[in-house]
């Protein structure tokens, strides 16, 4: 476990897309009551470290065991002044328990004796590509919404603050979009679609922040 991972190299996200509210769902969130968006298994930093390690490539149990350990470093005291002797090593039994939890939640899978991630990771350059499309989509939406502004205002006159309606509209439109995308075979045709992915943090921006705070 690398010391610099304290800032989370990856951001884990998950999304449950529900087609329609069903009686056994949590009515506060309109989602299955027993599943939160990001599985609880990610609460534990050790399991996050395992996923981060597997994001670099598939690993055997022994390879994972050799990385799930660390020795802390001070923030501003230099190596010449002080070298830390404290070390933490996770045992094989504990590591196995963590791997079983991650496997149970379909976050990792074991193939030919090697563990690998069972969800996609968006790398930095891929996030940039996605952002280009996101801007394009959003601009088109803005155009459609602006054109419909008069009609929207007229239809929802009873509502005091009209700005709220756009929030509802966007949320409902996204739900509808999922439905249409499924019909058009862009998404798997499954109800309660659950996706988990991790987004590699924007490294450059992050490194700048670390530099500014700790190395000046």
């Amino acid at each position: 476990m690398k010391e610099n991972t304290k800032y989370h190299n990856y951001r884990f996200l998950g999304k449950i897309q529900v087609d329609e509210i069903q009686p056994w769902f949590d009515f506060a969130s309109a989602k299955p009551w027993d599943e939160s968006e990001t599985p609880w298994v990610l609460d534990n930093r050790v399991r996050r470290e395992i996923l981060i390690s597997l994001a670099e490539g598939a690993k055997t149990f022994e390879e994972l065991y050799s990385v799930i350990n660390f020795s802390p470093k001070p923030l501003i005291i230099s190596k010449d002044e002080y070298e830390c002797k404290v070390e933490y090593q996770w045992t094989k039994e504990t590591l196995e328990n963590h791997l079983l939890s991650l496997e149970w939640y379909n976050l990792i899978k074991k193939d030919n004796g090697r563990y690998e991630l069972a969800f996609p990771i968006l790398k930095y350059h891929e996030i940039q590509q996605i952002e280009n499309f996101t801007v394009k989509f959003a601009e088109n939406w803005l155009k459609v919404i602006t054109e419909a502004k008069t009609e929207i205002t007229k239809n929802f006159e009873a509502l005091g603050d009209k700005t709220f309606i756009y929030e509802f509209l966007v949320e409902k439109s996204v739900e509808k979009l999922y439905e249409l995308l499924k019909d058009a075979d862009f998404l798997p045709d499954k109800s309660n679609l659950q996706i988990t992915w991790a987004e590699q943090l924007r490294e450059i921006k992050f490194e700048e922040w670390v530099q500014k705070i700790f190395n000046n």
């Binding site: 002797k85 328990n97 705070i213 000046n216």
Partner: protein, 320 residues
């Protein structure tokens, strides 16, 4: 350094928690100390076996506290993060490394007596080595205007055969908005005791604390005790989490919360998980009013119900 060189109301808030203010001032008392006035380091004092180094950054400080191997000190290391101003942002990045075979107490105090739009954030890391006995006590005072937003995050790693005690106390003044996250990782044969006390006194107070212990080593043991009260529209959420990930580990979460007055909300969310077939994790929680019998006994001595309740709250929050 004399008392007059440091804001008096910050020192006063220390006294309210029965802490000797002289122990915090450099040049007085025997312990190592780091004294902050908003984002300026006002004093720093090292002692043998303890390296203390701080650096000012744009909105706060970065600090290293190193306790060298084998150091055993009776006098606590004092850390004072005071802000006398009404508003502003204070960001603290402390890192404490206690090497193997050390015995030490750290007394931290976060005092914001005039807070009215003040933001205090902390991102702390504690690394406690093997065979240590480490106590970390943190007291908070956020003034009387519910004007602070306090969001500390602490990651604590406790080595083999070590005893770690964490005491967090936010019972004086009006807390404001408080969001605390503590993650403690307990290695082989370590013992963790985490005691959280908080009191939300009015509508502007919202205290949400997540205290988690991850039992990562064989035979690691832990007890989380969370005690809180919410009064006159205050809100308290105590989220005590214990995860048994290693063979023969044992953890317990205990939560007691008292709700008083209309509009007050107390919530508890104990979340326990056993991931090893030989682990054992338990929880208990009680929320609401004090048992009527306790109130009756005090009222029989001539106290009114609110007076009796105040005494019981004080007793509960002072209890070890």
């Amino acid at each position: 350094m004399t008392n007059s060189e440091y804001p008096e109301d910050i020192l006063q808030s220390l006294e309210d928690y029965n802490i000797d203010i002289n122990d915090f001032l450099p040049g007085h008392g025997k312990g190592a100390k780091l004294l902050l006035d908003f984002n300026k380091i006002k004093g720093i004092e090292q002692i043998e076996g303890v390296i203390l180094k701080g650096k000012e950054i744009e909105n706060g400080i970065v600090a290293d506290v190193i306790i060298k191997e084998g150091t055993k000190i009776e006098e606590p290391i004092h850390l004072c993060f005071g802000v006398n101003k009404e508003s502003g942002v204070q960001e603290i990045f402390p890192r404490i490394i206690a090497e193997n075979n050390t015995e030490v107490k750290v007394q931290a105090h976060c005092s914001f007596p005039n807070a009215n739009g003040l933001i205090h954030k902390m991102f702390g890391h504690f690394y406690i080595g093997d065979n240590c006995n480490f106590t970390y006590s943190e007291t908070h005072y956020h003034g009387e205007n519910s004007g602070a937003l306090v969001a500390p995050v602490g990651y604590m790693y406790i080595g083999k055969n070590s005893i770690f005690e964490n005491n967090f106390n936010l019972t004086k003044g009006t807390p404001g908005k408080v969001k605390i996250l503590i993650d403690i990782f307990a290695m082989e044969n370590s013992i963790i005791r985490s005691n959280i006390k908080a009191f939300g006194k009015c509508k502007g107070d919202s205290i949400r604390i997540r205290d988690s212990v991850f039992l990562e080593g064989h035979h690691a043991r832990s007890v989380i005790k969370m005690k809180a009260a919410a009064k006159d529209g205050g809100e308290v959420l105590m989220y005590g989490m214990t995860e048994g990930n290693a063979p023969y580990c044992n953890g317990h979460v205990e939560c007691s919360e008292i709700v008083l007055g209309k509009g007050s909300i107390c919530r508890a969310r104990p979340f326990i998980r056993a991931l090893d077939a030989t682990s054992s994790v338990s929880h208990e929680a009680s929320l609401g009013r004090f048992p009527q019998k306790w109130l009756d006994e005090l009222m029989a001595k001539g106290l009114s119900e609110p007076e009796a309740t105040d005494i019981l709250i004080e007793a509960m929050l002072q209890e070890e």
